[in-house]
């Protein structure tokens, strides 16, 4: 579904990403973890076209999209959320999702009524009760769910989630895990960046670990957990060269 191949991103003299290769497949959650500043968000920006890579390429369904504009990539059904929230703050939760449905109706030939779709999504992410509140007045955790709902509105095949669980309490996190598993079961490819490693380990089929812009480990949750480099990166110990 998605493949980002040997991606470099250079800011000045430092590499935010260096030869990073990450793939995400249909019908599964792929975890992407790593310490702060490892390059996770930069990778999302490269995939969605908000950041041009210095080197490397991005393909979606086998098609090279490296030089396509963000909105054209989105039309290939790639949706995302943002680590630093990018909600439409003065609109209500429902309007946030509704406007996304309406934008999709512009480029997607569909006869779906955006209002019906928006209400379905509100139910699905559990925001029905606060649907008429302006998002600016919501706690961060709920606003993250608004972003998730908004991303779902374009009926993505590939969904990039940048720390959707931060700001959620433990029962809400459980609900989120459940929702993501269901979405994957429906066939969606999900790339999940999340600090809650327990959540990632539980729902991901495959996990990539980034550190200093490099992929230092890749495998099943079990393999990644036992990897010495990963433990070193997370515990701050010296990484063997």
């Amino acid at each position: 579904m998605l493949s980002a191949e040997t991606v470099d991103v250079k800011f000045g003299v430092t590499y935010a990403l260096s030869e990073a290769t990450v793939e995400a497949h249909e019908a599964q959650v792929t975890g992407l973890i790593g310490p702060n500043g490892a390059g996770k968000t930069t990778l999302f920006n490269v995939i969605t076209g908000l950041q041009a890579p210095t080197r490397g390429r991005v393909t979606i369904d086998g098609e090279d999209v490296t030089n396509l504009k963000p909105h054209i990539r989105a039309r290939k059904r790639v949706a995302r959320t943002f680590q630093r929230l990018e909600v439409f703050g003065s609109l209500t939760a429902r309007e946030n999702i509704l406007v996304a449905c309406e934008i999709r109706n512009q480029w997607d030939s569909t006869s779906e009524d955006p209002r019906t779709v928006a209400d379905e999504i509100l139910d699905r992410v559990g925001l029905r009760e606060v649907g008429n509140q302006p998002v600016d007045a919501m706690p961060t955790g709920l606003a993250r769910l608004v972003e998730l709902g908004r991303a779902l509105a374009i009926r993505p095949k590939l969904l990039l989630l940048d720390e959707p669980g931060s700001g959620l309490d433990s029962s809400e996190t459980l609900g989120l895990g459940q929702l993501l598993t269901e979405l994957a079961e429906d066939g969606m490819a999900i790339l999940l960046v999340e600090h809650d490693v327990e959540l990632v380990m539980r729902i991901s089929k495959e996990i990539y670990v980034l550190d200093f812009g490099r992929v230092i480990a890749h495998g099943t949750p079990g393999e990644v957990k036992d990897n010495a480099d990963v433990q070193a990166a997370y515990l701050g110990a010296e990484v063997p060269a």
Binding site: F11, A79, G89
Partner: protein, 644 residues
């Protein structure tokens, strides 16, 4: 060859001044992220202060230079940073524009209070009368001074930025909000020093430039604006490129003057820097979309429902009909003028209030509309109104095109260039407004009903405003309106949903300028004729600022802003001591209130409600006419504060 050399020297000298002023702009922009539109006005103000000290008060040049460039200008810059700019970090482009444009107009207004614009003044050149022969041409000492000073400043700036601690801190560019947030925002002291430095550079440019032109408030302010083009060459970041841009601009201008045939030159000369700016904007590569949404400092006002807006519209027209039958012709004209301005401001509600884009050329579109109304379909026909709307819509698209793919600031600059260019090339052209620069604009007959009489025309005007207001609100409630709000609040998120930002911006820009064109048809009809000076860029600024002060998010804001502006000529007559009352009023108002996009009109409703509640203690209805507050109290980690 001699002529070529002579023009080259003139070009280099002028280019040096552009480079000076532009580098001041770049220094403040990179450290505070705010593009200072008042830069030109600071240069003008300092040139006048210098003139006051030397020519009027007889101070020696060196003492006046020290006083102006090392004391007054830096103090002014630092003061602006401390009192105004410090609070604007992270604010939307429309807010920072409104505040700095407010300063620009306020400075012009202040200058006219101290220095009567009617009185001719001139500033002598440095080492006046002295010149030296280089090869075959004479170079004045003043020109040599200009070049030397610019080179010196370039060297000193380089040393300052690379060899001093504070200079190094300044280079920590704030152009990338993401990066800035990682490094922590530029410390206040750095920003203050940069604003002091920027103001001093503007002052230096003003003082060196003033002797070459007459000491005229508007002219000098606009000349320094020409330096903006040079700053664009450096993409508001690179000082070497900015200097190169300044020189290129100066040389292009001088050689154009030397080589263009006089008939073209007369038209094109004042607009040359503007064409340059336009060309640079066209050549700028597309900047990447930045993540980092605008933080809302004020809660958006509730949007009226269709029923509410229909009732309000009908009430408005009813009041207008009554007023039309009781007001004197003079008062009817004043009120009509207010409604026309309100209609123009309504176009800004759509563009700036909803979509977050800024146009500094709204009066230009009004002029295009008035022109179409006067010239096409025999003048004063219903088709003329349609033509005015369509033509202005096309003009809007043309104005926006070079910068539509860039960010808001560049779009605003592009419209500024368009407004200046149009005023020089189009409105001042005798083929456009005819000999004498006045074009007759008749009032229309619609479906056999004549609206030529003052009263009928006033009612027609009010009906048009009501319909447009209802239309704008309907648009806001619909899908297009939601898209505009979404685009204003997070362009990056919109793009990742598949929205074509360029087309959306182009659509709203055309729609807004079309509405301004419609207002232009009425502007002309109301006055009976329009003149070449009616559509100056500065008037567009006044309009933008006044509607920002009244409330750029709401139809009520547009109406109140328009009526206020309509009253200005009346107030002006009773205050002859303040020649540019509209500049001063709009400028100071914007500086004081421009941070609240909902404007002062948004405070009126809640105040009345509170008053009512005080009078009727038993009433427990909603307090401010909004939906009841949600039951969930915004937690400390509420979104808005977390993003700040």
């Amino acid at each position: 060859m001699t002529a070529f050399l002579a023009y080259t020297v003139i070009g280099i000298a002028t280019g040096c001044i552009y480079a000076l002023t532009a580098s001041g702009l770049v220094v403040t922009y990179t450290t505070s992220g705010i593009f200072n539109f008042a830069h030109g006005a600071i240069g003008m103000l300092m040139a006048f202060t210098y003139w006051q000290l030397t020519v009027q008060n007889g101070w020696p040049q060196w003492l006046a230079l020290i006083a102006v460039l090392l004391v007054i200008a830096p103090a002014l810059g630092a003061l602006i940073q401390r009192t105004l700019m410090r609070r604007l970090y992270g604010a939307s482009i429309s807010t920072t524009l409104v505040i700095t444009l407010g300063l620009l107009l306020a400075f012009i207004g202040v200058a006219t209070v101290f220095w009567d614009p009617g009185e001719p003044r001139s500033l002598p050149e440095f080492f006046a009368g002295n010149r030296v022969k280089v090869f075959s041409i004479f170079v004045s000492y003043h020109q040599i001074t200009m070049i030397t000073v610019a080179v010196l400043v370039a060297v000193l700036l380089r040393l300052f930025l690379f060899r001093t601690r504070i200079g190094t801190a300044m280079r920590a560019v704030v152009d990338d909000p993401e990066l800035a947030s990682l490094n922590g925002a530029a410390p206040d002291r750095v920003a203050m020093v940069s604003w002091a430095l920027g103001a001093a550079l503007a002052g230096l440019a003003g003082i060196l430039l003033a002797p070459l032109v007459s000491l005229d408030i508007i002219l000098l302010t606009l000349l320094v604006i020409n330096g903006y083009a040079a700053a664009m060459v450096g993409r508001l970041k690179s000082l070497p490129l900015t200097f190169a841009g300044g020189l290129a601009l100066g040389l292009a201008e001088a050689h154009a003057i030397g080589n263009l045939p006089p008939n073209i030159l007369n038209i094109a000369k004042p607009a040359l820097p503007i064409f340059f700016l336009y060309a640079v904007l066209l050549a700028l590569p597309q900047a990447r979309l930045r993540v980092g949404r605008v933080v809302n400092t004020h809660r958006a006002p509730r949007v009226a429902s269709l029923r509410e807006s229909l009732v309000a519209g009908a009430g408005f027209v009813a009041v207008a009909a009554i007023l039309a039958s009781v007001l004197s012709p003079g008062d009817l004209f004043t009120a009509g003028q207010g409604i026309v301005f309100a209609l123009i401001m309504l176009s800004l509600v759509l563009l700036t209030g909803y979509a977050g884009q800024v146009s500094l050329a709204q009066m230009t579109f009004v002029g295009v509309g008035a022109f179409a109304m006067g010239k096409f379909f025999g003048g004063g026909s219903f088709l003329g109104i349609i033509a005015a709307t369509v033509l202005a819509g096309i003009a809007g698209a043309i104005a926006a095109l070079p910068a539509i793919r860039l960010q808001g600031l560049y779009l605003a600059l592009s419209t500024l260039a368009f407004a200046q260019g149009m005023s020089q090339v189009f409105f001042k052209n005798t083929n456009v407004f005819g000999f004498g620069g006045r074009l007759e604009v008749k009032r229309p007959d619609i479906l056999g009903v004549s609206f030529r009489g003052d009263r009928a025309f006033f009612v027609l005007l009010c009906v048009t405003f009501a319909l447009c207001g209802i239309g704008v609100l309907a648009l806001r409630r619909g899908p297009f309106g939601r898209r505009l709000i979404a685009m204003r609040e997070s362009p990056a998120a919109c793009a990742t949903l598949g929205l074509n930002l360029t087309m959306t911006k182009l659509a709203v820009f055309s729609l807004s300028s079309a509405m301004a064109g419609l207002a232009g048809a009425f502007y002309g009809g109301l006055r009976g004729q329009v003149g070449l000076n009616d559509f100056e860029m500065l008037q567009s600024l006044v309009l933008l600022l006044l509607v920002s002060v009244a409330g750029i998010n709401t139809v009520t804001g547009a109406l109140m802003g328009g009526l206020t502006f309509g009253l200005f000529p009346k107030i002006q007559r009773s205050l002859p001591g303040i020649p540019s009352l509209s500049f001063l009023g709009a400028g100071l108002g914007a500086v004081a209130l421009g941070r609240n996009p909902n404007g002062w009109t948004s405070d009126v409703g809640p105040r009345i409600a509170r008053l009512r509640k005080m009078l009727r203690p038993g009433d427990s209805g909603t307090q401010d006419g909004r939906e009841p507050e949600p039951n969930v109290a915004p937690a400390p980690e509420a979104v808005s504060s977390a993003q700040r």
